[in-house]
Symmetry: C2
Subunit: 198 residues, 2 copies
């Protein structure tokens, strides 16, 4: 039987020990009977490439890896902003559109609205239309979701599995508790045949 391949999306690719984390994630995948696929798995030939060409090539390789997978487990832990990494957001949009099942986790439990207000240094005010707005007049989502509604909407439409945990502060991008819960849920869904129904 062909192994079920899981694309491991998330900003941990930026870590100094990214490959090690990738191997840890793959080991957890194995435990649940999956084959983990890490964005850095396919080495990109850097020879004779300008920095731009290299970047564009990595993007192409990653899209091909997503296409080659059955599921995506995305790390939506906020990255350099109140929201998930934009690369990861892009990848789940890409995956969901072509029917891949998308699971997600975040290692920060604080609500999205609270995170956004904090990132704006508290410079927000309630406007006459009832919306909370920043100094540029742009509103802050208050629909009690985990991140921008397009991200929550994706997971809700795909698998309804968005695991929220609070990782130790020094393990924001390495803690794998929520990640493992996604894989466990994926395994359960496959067992119950839900994978083919929704």
């Amino acid at each position: 039987m062909k192994p079920i391949r899981v694309y491991l999306a998330g900003p941990e690719v930026f870590l100094i020990n990214a490959k090690e984390i990738g191997e840890q994630k793959k080991a957890v995948c194995n435990k649940y009977g999956f084959e983990g696929v890490f964005p850095l798995d396919n080495e990109v030939d850097t020879k004779n490439k300008s920095p731009k060409e290299l970047g564009l090539c990595i993007s192409e390789v990653n899209e091909d890896l997503i296409k080659s997978c059955d599921l995506v487990v995305a790390n939506l832990t906020p990255f350099r902003s109140p929201s998930a990494d934009v690369g990861t957001a892009y990848e789940i949009g890409f995956a969901h559109a072509i029917g891949k099942k998308v699971f997600a986790y975040t290692n920060i439990a604080a609500p999205f609205t609270e995170r956004t207000v904090k990132a704006l240094g508290g410079k927000v005010k309630r406007d006459s239309d009832g919306k909370l707005r920043d100094t540029q007049g742009m509103f802050i989502e208050e629909v009690e979701l985990t991140d921008n509604l397009m991200l929550d909407g994706c997971i809700h439409a795909s698998t309804k599995r968005l695991v929220v945990e609070e990782a130790p502060a020094d393990q924001l991008f390495t803690y794998l508790g929520g990640f493992e819960k996604c894989l466990s849920a994926a395994r359960e869904m496959i067992k119950s045949g839900l994978n083919n129904k929704s």
Copy 2:
């Protein structure tokens, strides 16, 4: 002939005068023979919905709007971070995966690496592996692209039209110069039949 529909992705939906900006964008679309489709076009019935349900419903409506369009013009101007709005990043991933042609513009000309270093308060250092890293050891992309390589990669693979302009500081999310250049490029591509080739 069926009109060519353009989905207008971008963080301007958060503006207090979002609908007005939407109408301005649609007028520019008309000028180039396109029908502009703004995320707020389909009113969502808020009755008997919890905030969460409302958020998830808007997400579903937006995905349906993207599917109903032929092209996407995305505003990738950095939003509350050094990068584009995550909702917009998600939407271009979704659109590109199902073969919609994606054009983009940004109203901030400063390079991605420079924007990221600034957002990190300059707290970065060059590591022994040659990479520029933040205080968590996570590297900063230096491949001379406009944003995270997945976003640039999308536009490169789809249309190669990512227009970079520097808008007046008070018009970051309302300036439409780059937007209009995208539409002009889209019109040219359709005229030359390139729309069906790449």
